[in-house]
């Protein structure tokens, strides 16, 4: 079943086409990677899906329903959550409070405070940060802040999770644990769509990869196909 579908999605900033005519779809349960050179329009595409930006034209459907034009909080309540390329945590609040807010406001039916706290603690453990419960979010290392953001997104009970460069700045070993985390998320039945530059991660974890360049989709396929695609090698992977 298609959980997300975009048809002829275009986004212009003045005369500049950030995303021009992209068709894409994501099936439920997949882990799909989104790669492309810097400036290709990947984060812009995420912004169009999550409601931060409205497409200039084109339609985006989530679980069969049109979501173009809806505000982010409405899209979140329908089951789509995301993390940000530059972490946007609530810095002066504790790690637990950050996740708690996701629980309290993000789920479709709203949550009782007692249950929300319990769930948030579980999520903290899920991402491996139980020790940081009472720390202020702004005091964490960048890698840990990204984990908190993932936990906060998961707290809203999403069916589709958008991850924007979650692995940037991690050592290869840390990338390994992040890959494990994403697989765990996938095994919970959550569909994952991730932007990444860390090739090892994308190739290992993705079922399918979409490649953007200058705002257009130039390739799509399973990791092996993409890794050997000459155009992709030329503009993105290098030799």
């Amino acid at each position: 079943m298609q959980i997300l579908e975009g048809r002829e999605v275009k986004k212009y900033f003045g005369g500049l086409a950030a995303v021009s005519n992209v068709d894409f779809h994501i099936d439920q349960g997949e882990i799909v990677g989104l790669i492309g050179p810097n400036g290709a329009g990947k984060t812009t595409l995420f912004n169009l899906m999550s409601g931060s930006l409205v497409p200039t034209s084109g339609v985006i459907r989530f679980k069969g329903e049109k979501i173009t034009g809806l505000r982010p909080h409405q899209i979140c309540k329908r089951g789509m959550a995301r993390t940000f390329q530059f972490v946007k945590l609530f810095g002066n609040m504790t790690v637990l409070e950050n996740i708690l807010l996701g629980s309290l406001f993000g789920s479709p039916t709203g949550m009782h405070e007692v249950n929300a706290k319990r769930e948030s603690l579980e999520l903290l453990e899920f991402v491996g940060l139980s020790a940081m419960e009472g720390s202020l979010a702004k005091d964490l290392t960048v890698a840990n802040q990204k984990r908190v953001e993932v936990a906060r997104a998961l707290a809203t009970k999403p069916e589709l999770l958008l991850l924007d460069e979650v692995m940037a700045g991690l050592t290869p070993t840390e990338v390994g644990s992040a890959i494990e985390l994403i697989k765990k998320i996938g095994s919970r039945g959550i569909t994952v769509f991730m932007i990444e530059h860390v090739m090892k991660a994308i190739m290992t974890v993705s079922d399918r990869i979409i490649v953007l360049h200058h705002g257009e989709k130039i390739a799509e396929g399973i990791p092996e196909e993409i890794a050997t695609n000459p155009k992709v090698i030329e503009i993105y992977l290098g030799t």
Binding site: H73, C76, F90, F105, G106
Partner: protein, 322 residues
């Protein structure tokens, strides 16, 4: 939450004690004290209700005078036609409705733009009312039905109690947390399901309800009002100053700031009638310079001073560790 249960009960009892004291006090003190207390109550209400919205969200509103003044005018126009409590309720309600309208147009503005917009709005309302009064109604000012100072006192105490209770309940609820998150990162808040526009508008409107109600009752003390009295920009600036002075982050700080500054102004006015403005300003500057977190930050600052200051201070926040 953060305090243990016993501490909560202690504060609750202390608060109730003070409240009871306030209730029986008027029979035992001079009228002058009652009038002074009225002033203090007024500024506490204005400061706490201003900080209700502007504190956590960092949307600094300079429109408090507009809503306060609106309440004053409701009182002036309807004071002789309707019972007192209804007038006060209407003062609050009309402010609430105006705030919703204002919110619709202005809450997409960020930071400084929002602040300047609210200030401009306040002035616009002042001039509009003035124009209307002069050209349509044929008056400059109005007389307000007088009410004895004891009644005013008890009404103010009632409004104060309600304001404090509402402020406390909001702050310690999930909505309080959500408001804080809006101040930290609106985009993130929106993406975890918080309807930021609705939340901003409603909280802003709630804060103005108390301002309007207070205006309605204070008008009866002044008996003569005109647009420059009712919509005096000082009623927009003072709550901000008082909150910063006492400590914006918590209700106690806001109460302290409003109380201390109002008392200070009164004391200075009587003791140094010629220099009081100068002294007042100097004290404000000195406190904000050395206690950026306001009076409630005093404990922290003393502790820091005792420990010899932090090693390696570059800027207050410093670069983040990796």
């Amino acid at each position: 939450m953060r305090r243990t249960i016993s501490k909560k009960i202690f504060y609750l009892m202390l608060f109730s004690l003070i409240f009871i004291l306030m209730v029986i006090m008027p029979s035992y003190v001079s009228p002058y004290t009652i009038i002074l207390l009225n002033s203090i109550f007024m500024y506490i209400i204005l400061t706490v209700s201003w900080a209700l919205f502007s504190g956590p969200t960092h949307y600094l509103s300079l429109a408090s005078a507009a809503f306060f003044g609106l309440g004053i005018y409701v009182s002036a126009i309807l004071g002789d036609k309707l019972p007192l409590l209804v007038v006060i309720g209407l003062g609050g309600l009309i402010s609430f409705l105006l705030a919703l309208l204002v919110g619709l147009s202005s809450l997409r503005l960020r930071g400084m733009y929002f602040t300047i917009f609210t200030f401009g709005l306040s002035e616009l309302i002042r001039h509009s009312v003035q124009w209307w009064e002069v050209n349509k109604t044929g008056t400059v000012g109005r007389w307000v039905v007088a009410v004895d100072h004891m009644t005013v006192y008890y009404v103010m105490l009632g409004i104060l109690l309600i304001t404090l209770v509402v402020a406390y309940l909001i702050r310690h609820s999930k909505y309080g947390l959500a408001l804080l998150s809006i101040g930290e990162s609106e985009e993130a808040a929106e993406h975890i399901g918080i309807n930021i526009n609705a939340m901003k508008m409603i909280t802003f409107a709630i804060s103005t309800f108390f301002m309007g109600a207070t205006g309605a009752i204070m008008a009866t003390r002044w008996s003569y009002i005109d647009p420059s009295i009712a919509f005096n920009p000082l009623f927009s600036f003072m709550p901000v100053l008082m909150a910063i002075f006492g400590g914006v982050g918590n209700i106690f700080g806001q109460i302290l700031g409003a109380g201390v500054l109002t008392l200070l102004a009164d004391v200075l006015l009587t003791k140094f009638p010629y220099y009081y403005m100068l002294l007042y300003g100097m004290i404000l500057v000195v406190v904000v310079l050395f206690l950026p977190k306001g009076l409630t930050g005093l404990k922290e600052e003393v502790k820091r001073w005792r420990e010899g200051g932090s090693v390696n201070p570059v800027r207050k926040d410093g670069p983040r560790p990796e």
